[in-house]
């Protein structure tokens, strides 16, 4: 099969790149080994830690992916936001100033964008409500309300905690492991359950105008939160849970559908295993399912170790498909003994030139671009820039391909 561009990887970077290419009229295909790390998302997108992320990014080392974006970082950030919105993902926040999102353990973490309807704070200290009800499904182990309650307490918000159940959830709980976020979210796709929950909210919240819930409001449906708000008249806000992340899955699904709607094709469950070159350019890739795809350009958005783009063997780190040049220390130096210190492996990745063309044996391949977590030179966790690098480098690559 032949496409204009084939993208290897199925995460945030791959999907944004794909959508941007598809809407510019390119015939694009995505090849991905299963689902992406969006399944562990916090419901927010980080650009860079600090009060003003765009300014902070100006001072970065030349090896940082942001340094290769040139002048257009602000525009790319705006475009990324626009694509999320086109896909139907409503977001809060902007690139000029970070805001804060509440994490599952009640910390307030800086972010650039957060999905509308989640608990956020403008200054990381205060909220615009003074009391709230924290309501969680009974027997749901991936959300601990006391963390949230104590965090609010520090910010001067009084909370009460309560649990709810629904007949369907009572049945689901008979499975000792599958009372997961998605299970609850699926139940809340059903109108009868929404109505039942609405009356529980009304009963439990009494005079309290704000209700905090784990992010489990609807799996297929995206209007559950607004439905509940409409019926109850309360403000409803959510906090991310431990994986699977319902909000992250919804983002992935919305982006996939947008890509397909624009004519893109997704080969899911395919691992790119081989490639062929012609005259210094990549001609085809072949997948684990025996499908060979030809294209004019290829985008490597295959992620880091967890995504499968990189592999650490005892002998060293390698990029899995092309054996592209990798900037990495020896394997024994990949980690810091303290988990909460900066982990060197986080910054490991492939090397690309100024146009994000992938380097193999020191030379850039003219039609192979790299973007997202497979890139080297940044620490997504410590810099709070994982989503930002994924989206902005993906859009930059799309721009370079379109201008080719």
């Amino acid at each position: 099969m032949r496409y204009d561009t084939v993208i290897i990887g199925g995460g945030l970077a791959a999907l944004l790149c794909g959508i941007e290419l598809a809407r510019s009229g390119k015939k694009a295909a995505i090849v991905t080994t299963g689902h992406s790390t969006l399944h562990f998302s916090s419901g927010s997108f980080g650009l860079y830690n600090g009060a003003e992320p765009l300014k902070a990014a100006e001072a970065l080392a030349p090896s940082h992916p942001y340094s290769k974006l040139g002048e257009g970082m602000e525009q790319l950030a705006a475009k990324a936001t626009e694509i999320l919105n086109v896909a139907g993902i409503a977001t809060v926040g902007n690139a000029e100033a970070n805001h804060y999102i509440m994490t599952p353990t009640g910390a307030l973490r800086q972010c650039w964008l957060s999905i509308e309807g989640m608990v956020t704070s403008a200054d990381g200290k205060s909220f615009d409500f003074s009391d709230a009800l924290i309501l969680s499904p009974e027997g749901f182990l991936d959300f601990y309300t006391q963390f949230i309650a104590d965090s609010f307490k520090r910010a001067g918000v009084t909370t009460t905690q309560s649990v709810f159940s629904l007949p369907e959830l009572t049945i689901r709980r008979n499975n000792p492991t599958e009372m997961r976020s998605v299970t609850v979210a699926r139940a809340l796709d059903k109108e009868e359950n929404i109505l039942a929950l609405a009356s529980i909210i009304t009963r439990e919240a009494k005079d309290t105008q704000t209700v905090i819930m784990p992010a489990v409001l609807g799996f297929e449906r995206t209007d559950v939160l607004s439905r509940l708000e409409k019926i109850t008249g309360k403000q409803i806000l959510t906090v991310a849970t431990l994986p699977p992340s319902v909000e992250g899955i919804k983002v992935e699904r919305a982006l996939c559908k947008t890509f397909e709607r624009m004519g893109g094709v997704i080969f899911n469950g395919h691992t790119a295993t081989h490639y062929s070159m012609e005259e210094g350019a990549v001609a085809t890739i072949t997948t684990s399912k025996g499908v060979t795809l030809a294209a004019n350009e290829f985008v490597l958005a295959s992620g880091s170790f967890i995504g499968g783009g990189l592999q650490a063997l005892r002998s060293g780190v390698a990029e899995v498909l092309f054996g592209a040049d990798v900037a990495a220390p020896a394997v024994v130096e990949l980690t810091n003994r303290d988990l909460f210190e900066s982990q060197p492996f986080m910054s490991v990745g492939i090397e690309v030139d100024e146009q994000f063309k992938v380097l193999i044996a020191g030379k850039s391949v003219e039609n192979l671009y790299g973007c997202g977590a497979v890139l080297s030179g940044y620490n997504p966790v410590k810099e709070g820039c994982g989503a930002g690098v994924a989206m902005l480098t993906a859009l930059k690559v799309a721009e370079n391909i379109i201008n080719r």
């Binding site: 790390t37 562990f40 998302s41 916090s42 994490t103 599952p104 353990t105 009640g106 910390a107 307030l108 973490r109 009974e138 027997g139 182990l141 991936d142 601990y144 006391q146 963390f147 309650a149 104590d150 520090r154 009572t170 709980r173 008979n174 000792p176 492991t177 009372m179 991310a240 431990l242 994986p243 992340s245 880091s304 170790f305 967890i306 592999q311 650490a312 063997l313 005892r314 394997v331 024994v332 990949l334 980690t335 810091n336 003994r337 303290d338 988990l339 909460f340 982990q343 492996f345 986080m346 997504p380 966790v381 410590k382 994982g386």
Partner: protein, 537 residues
């Protein structure tokens, strides 16, 4: 309140064994441990239920002790022991002559040792190195040191002993040249305490040197570090040893859901005993030698690396400290140093903890003029049963409650005490090792659990493939709701737990282990932002 017959300092297998033996003989005992039980050398070894074969050639006495204790433990601690059987294999580069000597020595020590055809050995244990040229079958097995210690503690308490964990001995109370008690600090609350007893037993392992020093007594000890690797699942179901002079990394032991290779042996300074890291060289050596026993280790996921310290004691008649006693060392400081009321029990090995306790309590009885016989070789530990095998219990439980089926391995028949009557109690906190909410609650309420790491030692929570990725947070929440802890304490505990898990993962962080590490870091440092939580405290 604070008066006892005996104070035992040290909550490893030995200390727990002494406490139990005292309690069974009607002696009022207090056990004091500065950390949790089984945190020192006890919890940091192979978990090999030695047949004694390993010592047969060089140390007949140890070999005889081992086989005797082996048979006793199979009976009294059935739920802590697995009868895997063991093989001593000869590889092409080893000498078959050693095998003959080995078998002869085993038989002389009362250990059944039968040379079998290498082909039969492969059939018995398909993961064994197929190039082997000889194999001897011995009655090795595996023993879970956490369970064994916990069962001893449980029984000691059932019979009236008092156990204080997270309690540090600040000083020994010495009156007219006699140790009459201890002054302590609770390391969690800072609360001070003072306890008195006619006899104080030093069962602190390598840390016993420091306790002895508090009584002005010198014991020459040599800390010997032994590093081990844990593999992600059972590679072998039969213990595999190398049939040669004992050397590094020549024992491969299946334990519960994993396999352990070990150990290395190196001298370490005393100041490192509390915080040991496994070096890349040790990892390299363990993998190289381990894969000689079972080649599959080369491509099996390594969960983590850890190290323990053996308390080697220099023989008293050798002031240079070079000659080391490998056997059990009971020091009566009254006769040795003129300090009454103070006994040190050290040397020995996990296998002989019960015998060490027996000798110690015999001495205590003599000193206290108590006429009571030791019954620990016959009395079953709580959880062990003559009638019900773990396998049978698991089979019946598996259809009703997955958590319960696994719990029988961990608690023996005591698993019946775990509440699994409702969906809420059956819900699994740890999916890899199938630890239910009910089991967490049982451990917190009955087994003296103070934090997540203690919980791991009692239940295997977080010891599976993901090393606590999902379950740590869940368990923290369940524990907090049982113990009503404030969330700052819970978060500090959570952070401590994942930090401890990562400490073991980082020396072997390549392949899937690094992928797991990335996810762990992403979840706890990223999504949850626990470092940020830490700053607030």
């Amino acid at each position: 309140m604070n008066e006892f017959d005996v104070i035992i300092v040290g909550g490893g297998a030995t200390g727990a064994g002494v406490a139990r033996d005292c309690a069974l003989r009607g002696i009022r005992a207090l056990l004091i441990e500065r950390d949790d039980i089984a945190t020192g050398a006890t919890g940091r070894n192979h978990g090999l239920l030695h047949s004694g074969a390993r010592y047969a050639v060089n140390d007949r006495e140890s070999a005889e002790e081992c086989i005797k204790e082996n048979m006793i433990l199979r009976r009294i601690a059935a739920h802590c022991v697995e009868d895997t059987g063991g093989l001593f294999i000869t590889l092409p580069e080893d000498s078959l002559e050693f095998q003959a000597k080995f078998i002869e020595s085993c038989l002389a020590a009362g250990i059944s040792a039968e040379a079998i055809d290498p082909k039969l050995a492969i059939a018995m244990e398909p993961s064994v190195n197929p190039t082997l040229i000889g194999a001897v079958k011995v009655p090795d097995g595996s023993v879970d040191p956490f369970r064994l210690t916990a069962a001893n503690i449980l029984d000691a308490r059932l019979h009236g002993a008092k156990v204080l964990t997270y309690t540090k001995v600040d000083e020994l109370i010495i009156e007219s040249g006699r140790v009459v008690g201890v002054k302590t600090t609770n390391t969690l609350s800072g609360e001070k305490g003072e306890y008195r007893a006619a006899i104080t037993v030093n069962a602190c392992g390598i840390w016993g040197r420091d306790l002895a020093a508090k009584a002005g007594v010198t014991i020459n000890m040599l800390p010997a570090k032994g590093a081990l690797l844990v593999f992600g699942h059972r590679v072998n179901n039969v213990v595999i040893n190398r049939c040669r002079k004992p050397a590094d990394a020549d024992i491969l032991v299946p334990g519960d859901s994993i396999t352990v290779i070990g150990t290395t042996s190196s001298k370490v300074p005393f100041d490192q005993c509390d915080n040991m890291y496994v070096t890349p060289e040790e990892v390299e050596l363990l993998l190289r030698e381990g894969s000689m026993l079972a080649p599959a280790l080369n491509h099996t996921r390594i969960l983590r690396a850890y190290a323990g310290v053996r308390p080697l004691v220099a023989s008293d008649d050798d002031p240079s400290g070079r000659s080391v006693s490998r056997g059990i060392v009971v020091l009566d400081h009254a006769t040795r140093d003129g300090v009454e009321g103070f006994i040190t029990i050290t040397g020995g090995k996990l296998m002989t903890y019960r015998l060490m306790a027996e000798w110690t309590v015999d001495l205590i009885c003599k000193k206290l003029n108590i006429d009571a016989k030791c019954t620990t070789a016959e009395a079953l530990l709580p959880g062990s049963s003559k009638d019900k095998s773990t396998e049978d219990c698991t089979r019946t439980a598996v259809a009703q409650s997955r958590g319960k089926a696994s719990a029988f391995y961990r608690h023996g028949t005591n698993a019946e005490k775990i509440d699994s009557s409702t969906a809420a109690k059956r819900a699994l906190v740890c999916e890899c090792e199938q630890v239910s909410v009910g089991e967490v609650e049982y451990a917190v309420e009955q087994l003296g659990v103070n934090n997540l790491v203690d919980l791991r030692r009692r239940t295997r929570m977080g010891m599976g493939t993901c090393q606590g990725e999902l379950c740590a947070c869940r368990a923290a929440a369940v524990m907090a709701s049982v113990g009503k802890s404030c969330s700052d304490k819970v978060k500090a505990d959570l952070k401590g737990f994942v930090t401890e898990r990562w400490k073991g993962m980082s020396p072997v962080a390549w392949g899937d282990t690094l992928r797991e590490g990335e996810l762990l870091s992403w979840l706890y440092d990223g999504v949850c932002d626990l470092s940020n939580n830490g700053k607030e405290e």
